[in-house]
Symmetry: C2
Subunit: 320 residues, 2 copies
């Protein structure tokens, strides 16, 4: 739910006094985003994004998220650069909540995704994986394999409200994933949420990779599996093998995938589908009737899960 913490001009002035980005000219809330309050901030020195972290984000994770953004931006990736206050801090407080300013990125997320965009996203994802090597902080994936069973427990009793027999299907799928989940694939820092909303384009070029608030350490190829689900299905639910081939090829051109990683992709894609199916199911079952933001339909990810269950191997993704 996008929460808008109301900021008075005097509060903003006092907050900005700790920074060297000039005086505020304008501040407007951004409607997108469901976890935090985001504002477009224009000052005499340029445009920035001001974020107030609401209760869904654990403040203990913020140094990881902001540090990672800075690490990647300093390596030339088009990520938001956190702005340090004069005292060097990237994180301060506004209205009693953690708050940060990051640089503004030009560009827009895509309305219509073409295969060449998927190739660019694959290459960008590989660059994130490569550039993040050497980032010194650690964060386990709270929504990785070990996080799925608690989510299933919290949704099992009412899963049937969304689809008949869903809880049995989820239980069976999770058992299989727990049994077969790969243990030896290369791990590293992953974005874990690189959906089309979080990638800006200027023409054919990626101009922004945003929203690092699910970033964590996990299997690198699992991040590619998340993108396979997020970028390569059409609105009608059909899997687009041309997009999948482009995404994976774009990735491999920059970071080669081992035979084990390729072989594991269908299972990783099932895990990625289950992860979003479970969190969407939880949000759906716990929605507030009058909320401004309607939760996303979990059934979209049920269809994606079934697709990956049905294929005979990674060649279904258009790759050798």
């Amino acid at each position: 739910m996008a929460v808008y913490t109301r900021i008075e001009p005097g509060e903003l002035r006092a907050f900005l006094a700790a920074y060297d980005i000039g005086e505020a000219i304008a501040l407007e809330p951004i409607a997108e985003g469901v976890e935090n309050s985001n504002y477009r901030l224009e000052t005499t020195f340029g445009r920035f994004i001001l974020t107030i972290y609401e209760k869904r984000v654990d403040p203990a994770d913020l140094p990881f998220f902001l540090g990672l953004m800075m690490h990647l931006a300093e390596r030339g990736l088009p990520c938001p650069l956190p702005v340090r206050a004069r005292d060097g801090a990237m994180l301060r407080e506004l209205k009693g909540k953690p708050a940060a300013i990051v640089s503004f990125l030009e560009g827009k997320s895509l309305k219509r995704i073409l295969p060449r965009h998927c190739a660019a996203v694959g290459a960008a994802l590989a660059s994130v994986h490569l550039a993040a090597r050497g980032f010194p902080l650690h964060r386990a994936n709270a929504l990785g394999l070990s996080g799925w069973r608690p989510l299933l427990a919290a949704t099992r009793d009412r899963a049937h409200e969304v689809a008949e027999g869903l809880s049995a299907l989820l239980e069976q799928e999770l058992e299989e994933l727990e049994r077969r989940w790969p243990r030896d694939l290369p791990q590293g820092v992953i974005h874990a949420d690189l959906f089309p909303d979080n990638v800006f384009f200027e023409g054919e070029r990626i101009s922004g990779l945003i929203d690092f608030y699910f970033a964590c350490e996990d299997i690198l190829a699992y991040d590619l599996a998340i993108c396979l689900n997020a970028w390569c299905f059409e609105n009608d639910g059909a899997f687009n093998v041309t997009k999948a081939r482009a995404l994976i090829s774009g990735y491999r051109d920059r970071r080669p995938l081992s035979a084990d990683e390729i072989g594991a992709l269908p299972l990783l894609a099932r895990g990625a589908a289950l992860r979003f199916l479970l969190t969407r199911l939880f949000d759906w079952l716990n929605r507030v009737p009058d909320a401004l933001v309607r939760p996303k339909d979990p059934r979209e990810y049920l269809l994606k899960l079934r697709f990956h269950q049905s294929i005979s191997g990674p060649q279904a993704y258009g790759i050798a």
Copy 2:
């Protein structure tokens, strides 16, 4: 003299392999700049500036310059952000010379300077001074007070080729500055070369502060005096008091000036004029007849020096 180190595609590819900014699309030399070889670099991830440091820059100073740019860019100032290679290094080697990649900044330097631009430059200069506090590296001003006597010695015998009686005037001025130079004014990191060429605007807003290759530690108000000379004289040599008032007011709005700093401005402006007069004189007397870039006329700064010698106090700059 703009030197163009020729870079072959294979060399560029090998150089970029250490970075995560994608593949090169285009590389073109930039004609401006006299100290280093600069190139516009376009990659699949965006636009950058590639700089190869030629012999006029002391490699030992590069960590100060690049570190300062990163320090300021991280604080939200519109300065180039040095791009770290995958190993974290901001400085690498290309063709056996030190080389760095920094972010590209939008905007253009001004063709026609108005008083409101001077106010923006004053504010930006104050922000540099404030934001640089806490920057941990040190660099003395090689072209500060103690560097002027060696320059005078190197130009004395032939100074008359530029203006009759110039060496006597320089000797007398330097003696007076050495005797009266203020010792107790606030010091800090200064840009030391914030000429109109080094400030980009987008509309009325400053979008870029570049060329930190003279940055050092010195009297903060001396940096303002450099700007007074660089921004507040018309092409015909006339001093524009409206621009001076705007420049100084823009600065004071962000970083208040003490009575001592205000009182010292005419002397600091004489010092700033002498510094550029001496270096231009040196370059003029040592010019290569066939060089592509004609050295700047030292007499411009002789006129500025005479102006500051002639005034009765800082009220000549339009300030109280």
